[in-house]
Amino acid sequence: MRENVQILRRDQGVSFPALLLDPPLMDAGDLDRMSSVGVDVQCRGRSGNFVQVDHRVLQAGAAEPGLEVMSTSEALQAYDWLTEYRWRAVSADKDEFTRYAREHARHGYFIRVLPGARINHPLQACLYLGEDGLTQCVHNIVIVEEGAELNIITGCASGPRVGSGAHIGVSEFYVRKGAKLNFTMIHSWAEDVEVRPRTGTFVDAGGTFISNYVCTRPVRHLQMYPVSHLRGEGAVARYQSILVAPPGSRMDVGSRVVLEAPATKSEIIARTITTGGEIISRGHLVGRVPGVKAHLECRGLLLAPEGLIHAVPELEAQAEGVEMSHEAAVGKIAPEEIEYLMARGLSAEAAVSTIVRGFLNVDIPGLPPALRDEIDRAVALSREQGA
């Protein structure tokens, strides 16, 4: 496997070679699928690249000083200390999927930003399922050292030839003192793919972790509940998720933040839409020390009568003086809103898309324009089916 890896080093300048067609592994359809989840196949304007197709790493490298990108298996050989970070933010015994990953994980990305390095351009990572019926299992580790900053865009998708398969991804993120990690993950799977990300994040004093998650394509069953532990004073975690569940899809997605240190803050925002699928939108805030602040917001839109959204917001205060709140609202689009926009000259279809776009209007940097079209398409489809 290793001989196919393009190992790139930072002295090679700021651009990477474009992702190449590699028959029979990848064709133009694959590159389209990668683009649809925010991967720039020309690799322009990226500080680093990591591309793994099935069990094989195609590209791994960094283009800015202070940034390291390689496969986790390579990193484990390079750094003895890395074993201390492995299975620390996520327990290997958490469930059957983590146990499977402990035995079977192949590669995944290792990304590290050296202390004080502020990486200008986003780094892109792509975990791609190319072969039908395969189980891709990866173990990712990201370490943003003290005072460093990084923006990661991860696109995970399955290829046009994939009907069924599975993706199991263990991810462990370490945001050290005063560091900042902005992590955006976009998923696009197929109708018969099972997806089980298992993610844990430790945020130290003064650190900030921002996680954005988007999934608008069919998936048989997606289940994840990433957890952040705010371990140092003033640490911050913010989760934003956008889910659109088409008919036949089941998405059970939540975010959990444990506020363990004084003056820590968190916000969890979820926007969910069903066009016929089932969504369980969870959120869990745990306040362990006095004076922490956190807010949870779950909003859901039912665009098809057969869809289901189940919002489960949880607040758990384990100390006095914690300030935590939540708001949850699930329902259809109010007809008054549609009529209001129609009275301004918009057709019913345009009014609905405008309202849905507004509903999904959370600020996520790096969202590919194609994704907006994708969301519009899903909404238009649901209206046709409902008519």
């Binding site: 109010a334 008054e336 809103e337 009529e339 209001y340 926009l341 129609m342 009275a343 301004r344 000259g345 918009l346 057709s347 019913a348 009014a351 405008t354 309202i355 776009r357 507004g358 509903f359 999904l360 209007n361």
Partner: protein
């Protein structure tokens, strides 16, 4: 501009308006008086074509039978509605909605400044607006939309004294009229006006700022007492709507028909 013939409106199996005959010519501003719950807003909403208002009879606009035209096509044809209780639309900013409904070449920013709404442009549509701010935001959208017929639902309600003049100026601009000066208020100078308006007023207060040509009283779903709006208003203020009804009852049915 607008002609209603034997216009009936039913909402959820309840008849709200019956046998309305009304004609509004280009350049005319009509006001609609009447107690709460007697069908004033229903008439405006039915003219806009909202589906829960089932209508019978005919509605002509600029020579076109719009009786069964959907809402957005009426808007595109040139009918604009100032909502009495506009909904909040989260995630859509004022700037975006103005862009969506703006006619070509409309100076959105200037109009927003005129209505003291420049700081509202990046806020979500109607989100957390006060009563007066809602009215100004509605008028701003109409000014940008430039309808030929403006349907204006209680423009003065919830507006403080400081802002009512502003609202009045905006309505005059919308209708292509200027504010009546005290000296010529009674002269009813006809100006070169193209646009038409139908304004609901409960208190008549807006008439101090906007000159109207024709007044109507809508009572128990029927149109009555058509005539000089100031005379009607002062009659109502002195004698109440009840007297109006008696007046109406003494008139044969066809007298409620207006061929102004």
């Amino acid at each position: 501009m607008l002609t209603l013939e034997a216009f009936d409106v039913v909402v959820e199996d309840r008849q709200i308006l019956r046998n309305i005959h009304l004609s509004i010519k280009p350049g005319e501003t009509h006001v609609l008086f009447g107690p709460n719950g007697h069908g004033k807003s229903t008439l405006l909403n039915a003219l806009m074509g909202f589906p829960r208002y089932q209508v019978a009879g005919h509605c002509w606009f600029k020579g076109l039978d719009i009786t069964s035209l959907p809402v957005h096509e009426r808007a595109r044809a040139g009918i604009g509605l100032m909502f009495q209780r506009p909904p909040t639309i989260r995630g859509l900013t004022m700037r975006e909605i103005l862009k969506l409904c703006a006619a070509d070449g409309v100076p959105v920013e200037d109009l927003a400044a005129e209505l003291r709404l420049e700081t509202f442009l990046d806020r979500d549509v109607n989100d957390g607006f006060s009563g007066g701010e809602l009215k100004r935001a509605e008028l701003l959208q109409l000014l940008v939309q430039r309808p030929n017929l403006a349907l204006i639902d209680e423009p003065e309600s919830g507006v403080d004294l400081e802002n009512i003049g502003l609202i009045g100026r905006a309505i005059n601009e919308l209708l292509g009229r200027r504010e009546p000066r005290p000296a010529d208020a009674e002269c009813r100078l006809k100006q070169a006006q193209r646009n038409a308006g139908l304004i609901i007023t409960h208190t008549g207060h807006i008439l101090n700022y906007v000159e109207a040509d024709v007044g109507h009283v809508l009572y128990e779903g029927r149109l009555a007492c058509t005539g000089n709006p100031r005379e009607i208003l002062s009659f109502i203020q002195k004698n109440g709507y009840g007297e109006c009804v008696r007046c109406l009852n003494h008139q044969p049915e066809e007298r409620s028909r207006v061929d102004a």
